[in-house]
């Protein structure tokens, strides 16, 4: 099918699209308010996140224009960095502990640091950037944080190369899925798993895997993989579509 095969919209529908199209301007000040909250949330995430260097980098630019992520006070940055670093260290400790390379005592100590009582971010009015930032720091669940990236240039280079290779494999898998070749998509997902068992795109791979199985009519296998997906990524935003695909046995957007 192509664009030319579709029936055209008539003049009434076209006129409505034309008249009502364009940007719907958000409320005055909305971008600034969201930017303030966003800076606090990103700072609270600590090292990791978008890979930009964590809490400190989230506040590295001064607020000079509309919607710019604002600078928050240095003591907030410090708190975010310390807690973020502790979280990163804790995650590292947890991983290392599973490998038997460090003691679990470290993990317990850090976990206590993270779980220090504090008001939740949602309980703080959005109008106060400092209050939001302070409240957000300890409210982050360590399980929701990505592993902190190593900041050395060599590691960054390797990370970029790996990510590029990961993306290439998954692009091939998506292409196979898109042309109605679920077996090909599964084969690519399996290849990705062999090469990158804990890759940055594992979540996307596993979601696509379930959908390919569903597309292939392998409902039992799709359901089993969906259950494993839910176990591994309970907070995933892909989870609803993965479950829907497994339950219905039809294709659902990842």
């Amino acid at each position: 099918m192509s664009d030319a095969d579709l029936p055209e919209l008539d003049a009434t529908a076209r006129a409505l699209l034309s008249a009502g199209g364009g940007t719907i301007e958000p409320a005055p000040g909305a971008q600034d308010r969201v930017a303030t909250r966003l800076a606090a949330s990103i700072a609270a995430l600590g090292p990791g996140g978008g890979g930009g260097g964590g809490g400190a980098s989230a506040t590295s630019n001064a607020s000079t224009g509309t919607g710019t992520l604002p600078r928050v006070p240095m003591w907030v940055v410090g708190a975010a960095f310390v807690v973020g670093g502790a979280i990163g260290f804790g995650v590292h400790g947890a991983v290392a502990a599973r490998d038997g390379s460090t003691s679990s005592t470290t993990v317990v100590t850090v976990a206590k640091t993270i779980e220090a009582p504090a008001p939740s971010a949602s309980a703080v009015p959005s109008g106060s950037s400092e209050a939001v930032a302070v409240a957000s720091v300890p409210a982050i669940s360590p399980s929701s944080l990505p592993l902190a990236p190593d900041s050395s240039s060599a590691t960054r280079f390797n990370h970029a190369a790996d990510l590029s290779e990961e993306r290439k494999i998954l692009d091939d898998a998506r292409a196979a899925f898109g042309r109605g070749d679920p077996d090909g998509a599964v084969a690519k997902a399996r290849a990705h798993e062999r090469r990158f068992p804990h890759g940055a795109l594992s979540e996307e791979r596993d979601a696509l895997w379930v959908q390919a199985l569903a597309q292939a009519g392998k409902s039992d296998e799709a359901r089993a993989r969906a259950a494993k997906f839910e176990q591994n990524y309970p907070e995933s935003m892909l989870l609803p579509s993965v479950k829907a695909a497994a339950q219905s046995g039809r294709k659902v957007a990842p």
Binding site: A13, A15, L17, G22, S60, T68, R156
Partner: protein
Amino acid sequence: VQPIAPTHDRFQAVFQAEFAYVCTSLRRLGVGERDLEDVAHDLFVEVWKRFTTYDPARPIKPWLFAFAFRFASDYRRLARHKVEVFVERDAEETAPRADELLAKRDAQRTLLAALESIDVERRAVFIMFELDEVPMQEIAGSLGIPTNTAYSRLRLAREEFQAAAHRLAAQRASGRAPAAREGKEAR
């Protein structure tokens, strides 16, 4: 392969440039104006977490739209949001506005009303194709669906949109505003 550059500046640039686009997309996908900032905030936090997975060689808008689609879908599943977008119109219209701006907002509300009549999965394809002018291959890739499925959704969405456009035009001609649909459950 180039090493990954520090991403904060790029993320910030995306936030500044695309905030309005994201908000527009969320509104078109059924997020109420009163919840827009909360949903946009949560969306951009997720964008930040996944920013290293974005391929700069690809257009940013379809990538962001996929986030908007997912967040809007989750939002709409919550029962407390099952009120149509038009409940806010009275508050909006209490402030005096220039005729031109008022007409534009009226047209936007009418468009939102027509979009609201389309199932959200089909609506996502329709918005990207008809309003954002994204090529169909890119739409399919962003939403993770086969291209033929995307075309099927667009075809059905066009039929639904056209029917809604005529219904709304008839309502307008008879003097009834789109707000007559107020209170109906969002799909």
